[in-house]
Subunit: 351 residues, 4 copies
């Protein structure tokens, strides 16, 4: 019989936490033993998310009530800035617990950049060097032994899986990258905000956080690493789309001298030949969010630009799965030596 | 190692067929060996449904090209009226093959009623007596040995799971049933119709087929059987809702003398105490399609009416899963002696 | 040149208030001189509603800052329970000002019923007898001279325009009325609530307030008046639909002895022969919200039920226009002796 | 009393034609005397578009049945390639009739470019020089006396109103323009296509026609004219968004040496200071389709890019109004010497 690993979910009342619970409930090696949500502590999970009416789950507790020592892994779905302390504490006192953080708090290696984008001082800089950036396909080997895994943001996952291999191989000019990004509304979370009301975001399309989105420095950091370039600056412009799930990034790229769109596509096919979750679409197929909804898959393709010397790369994923909870489970599988696809093999739900 | 059963899907280019394929691909005891779609024969499945880009599947073939003898089970997702001949032929020549029909063709026991609602003569009346109505929770024992399983329509599944136990127990007046039904657009299929274009059905709500919907006689037949009443007539009024998946039926009922809404709820709790897929919602929880999207679950509840002597029963399901492909897999599991939940344990996708 | 009437809008930061402003800006006889919104006081209207970026409007002020004496009419878009005091004060001190209340506060004639449904004591019962129920087509003559017009709720407008003529003419059994109601999300207002977030109400369908909706007593009151029946009880069951605007009510009726669906339809055609905003649909046309979006029109039709002795009446309107701001303008036109269609002749926006 | 001008609409059964009819019905100087739709000839308009149930309109006729001599103006909403012959014939035989073409057929000045993008030979090249490109704000003076007005495509209208003044003033490098465009589904028309079914385009986002969209040469032509550059090539990448109406273009621009985003914004403010339909949004306001739905307004803003030497320009409009029927009416008003805003003053419908 397969090993049962005990897990806890910090921040189980958000969309990311809930999707982690959904996956964990059907994961053959996970047993959910703690769910925290300070504002809902004491309630059954199904009172907070009605779609869990069919299953048994532990009631929600406060962070203080959870017994970290009893766990093998902690998934953290809290907002940024709230996890430094608790993560540091668990990290220090429970060396056997693996922490898989879906928040933004340990993604940026440079504390100054963290401060300037998130507006708070990072209070756990001492354990930052222990954090592995959880872009599974890129950092798989480091994830195997990591105790603290900082899962990437949803947009960075979509962008980086497409662009990192191209930057690494020197196929593109990383100083001229324009990324027009589009996301469904769940990316904004379950908090009550006027702009995510049905009547405000339905039947309409809004750019937001133009030039200011916090996923920007993450993308710059990782493309910079891949290309060996410091202080990279990209254009990243997100738009809110009237759908719940799904994200699509259209990246407008300048090719390295002599390179073609076909070279880029070939590079991606080669890089991802044996990857279970990255699909390079057939030659004439444009990626669309409908190809990934509810699944851990990413679809990427390269389209020739009419303008010589340029190419268009399109990548898409489900922001709550591969963009968050699914990738977290994927990293869990890697970190515990399980088959990497365990529990996240669901095919996209279409229509 | 678990038994591998070879299956074919007739009509794999419709939404119902595609959702069957989605479930079959992850079912541990199914191997897909044939997919038919006359109008798309010769194409790979992923050219017809892009969300299958991630997996290998047999190419689509015509019905004539399929080798029925090689199969253990055939799922049929063709439109009504098109399956009589092929079903009869397979039934006659391949006694070991189980046929699980998701079309309407073998649901009605009375050929005259079939003719009057579907407008065509039934040409396989000789095998109709062999057909078991595939409402799993009601006909489970007969399904175990059936060779031809006629899966119910999506609306009838939602209505009958809620009302059959009440009618059987004599708790309601079956001569006064009003069912206001609401469905997402996928219920209308993938055929090109003006009223299912995004611009026509989006941001709007339309009643349709009022007094004429073909799921009506099925509901009348089965409530009639449950109550022991012939020639039952109900009111069934469907509405098209701007969402892709999901169905919700609000049934307005007159109680039998002396009965209360609480009696109805108690009856349902008792009936479904051990059923894996039927959830009676907590006392104050109103069923909503968000509780079942993408899953094989049904949620039902009974709400007291302010008008004495009446009650409101609400039931909801995903029309493509429990309302079609999921229930078909559930029946497959029963018919082949597998654990009934195999391959359809997915939790609802929310948001 | 046409007369210019000075108006104020109380509660201009809600959807109802905003739609009133939209109509008033293009009404040839209205001049907007005051907009109140306590929580947004001091802001320009276009900071609160971006779609007003194209026009000049007075900045928002608090209720206390408004000069009622300078106005000819006040439209009130505040939530129920908040308008008693201010309405009473304006009514008492500014006899020339007409008050057109879009809230629920003066719709119910019986203070005890108000208290039991709204949970607060009515503190302006003395002026309640002055209030005219603003269902224009029914109370037009009284509206001409009214100083306080209590515009009906959105659902009641849709239901009553369809059922009042039938009840008055004795064509239906008013003791057996089941109304299955469906509304777009704007009916819930702009307040921040979890269930009206895009991710919660999108791609899903939810019944709500079953047996408890506050529009129920209004409907009972007015059908009771029309039929001459006291203490009427009806079934009214609302559902939240994933669209922004629009409302459709499906009423399941028992016919008076010997009457037919055709009799009902004939009665409605006759009643509304000269009404500019009530359309009886062609014989085989089912009303749908797409027929009225963004307009002041109501569409009604009667559909025969397969069950003898019953009929189905369907009515639809835009909840923010004919269901609120549009009907308020219509009443303004009547009250000031203008052509009744002035400023609300817009045709539906489709798609 | 105002002059009444007789108009006809060619292709009244499409979304563009229908929106023209909607506006014309409330235009004080238009009388609709002919509506053509070959495939629906003989039907009443309200049988083809149910939202016209409230009004009287001439029945649909074939093109051959229409009496062009009786008209003052013809609006053409036919698909491209179908209007050459009829336009030429009307142009030749009825010199007093003004033709306002909403199709693509007379937008491109170069017949070779037309042929290469539209795949058909242009058969009315002789009257092409008479055609004025109907971008009202740019070509107003020529439109006054034009007999043939070729209204721009929806995307070109959104892009060109934003970029033409910048190109003219030499503020941007026109050789490096990337336009990421997003449109609601109505832009694809009412024809039956699988990808515009509700279930296919709902809850999802798809790029389409990447590098191949037919609005590209129009944009290149007009920016080229503005900048005085021949053979311009731009990147134009459209995406299909799950909403019915609305279009938003995000243009990524390289600034001319020494110029800033503020310079661009200032130029636009100056250019459009007295234009009734072009709104430059407040400094921190990002344009969104919700600001224009159902109206003839365009909203534009310039946002500084973090990357030095670059800027982002965002423009949005309703594709069926300012992007088609509304601009056609605006041109009609100009051509007949009416107040330019007549009949198209409607404010956006929000929510």
């Amino acid at each position: 019989m397969a090993e049962q690993l005990k897990i806890g979910v910090l921040g189980a009342s958000g969309y990311t936490g809930a999707d982690l619970v959904r996956l964990a409930l059907r994961h053959p090696n996970m047993e959910i033993v703690a769910l925290t949500a300070n504002s809902h502590a004491g309630k059954p999970m199904r009172a907070v998310f009605k779609h869990f009416a069919h299953v048994d789950l532990p009631d929600l507790v406060t962070i203080d009530e959870a017994d970290w020592g009893a766990l093998d892994a902690v998934f953290c779905g809290l907002p940024h800035g709230t996890t430094h302390t608790i993560t540091r504490e668990i990290f220090a006192s429970h060396p056997h617990v693996k922490i898989i953080d879906m928040s933004a708090d340990f993604r940026l290696r440079d504390a100054a950049i963290y401060r300037s984008w998130y507006g708070v001082e990072h209070s756990a800089t001492d354990i930052q060097p222990e954090a592995v950036y959880g872009l599974t396909e890129v950092y798989r080997e480091k994830i195997r032994n990591a105790r603290l895994i900082a899962c990437p943001g949803c947009y960075p996952t979509a962008v980086l899986l497409a662009l990192v291999p191209l930057a690494k191989a020197g196929l593109i000019d990383v100083s001229d990258i324009v990324i027009d990004a589009k996301s469904g509304v769940s990316g904004a979370g379950r908090g009550l905000k006027e702009n995510t009301l049905f009547c405000e975001s339905g039947e309409g399309l809004s750019p937001y956080a133009v030039g200011k989105h916090r996923h920007m420095p993450e993308i710059e950091q990782e493309i910079g690493v891949a290309a060996g370039v410091a202080d990279l600056r990209i254009n990243f412009t997100p738009h809110l789309i009237p759908m719940s799930r799904g994200e699509l990034c259209t990246s407008y790229l300048r090719l390295a001298a002599g390179k073609t769109a076909a070279d880029l596509r070939h590079q991606l096919i080669e890089t991802y030949a044996n990857e279970p979750f990255v699909t390079i679409a057939d030659e004439d197929v444009l990626p669309q969010t409908q190809m990934v909804r509810g699944s851990n898959y990413v679809v990427v393709n390269v389209i020739p630009d009419r303008i010589p010397g340029r190419a268009i790369v399109i990548s898409t994923l489900d922001n709550l799965v591969k963009g968050s909870a699914g990738q977290a489970v994927q990293n869990f599988n890697v970190a515990f030596g399980l088959d990497e696809t365990t529990g996240i093999e669901q095919l996209p739900l279409f229509p």
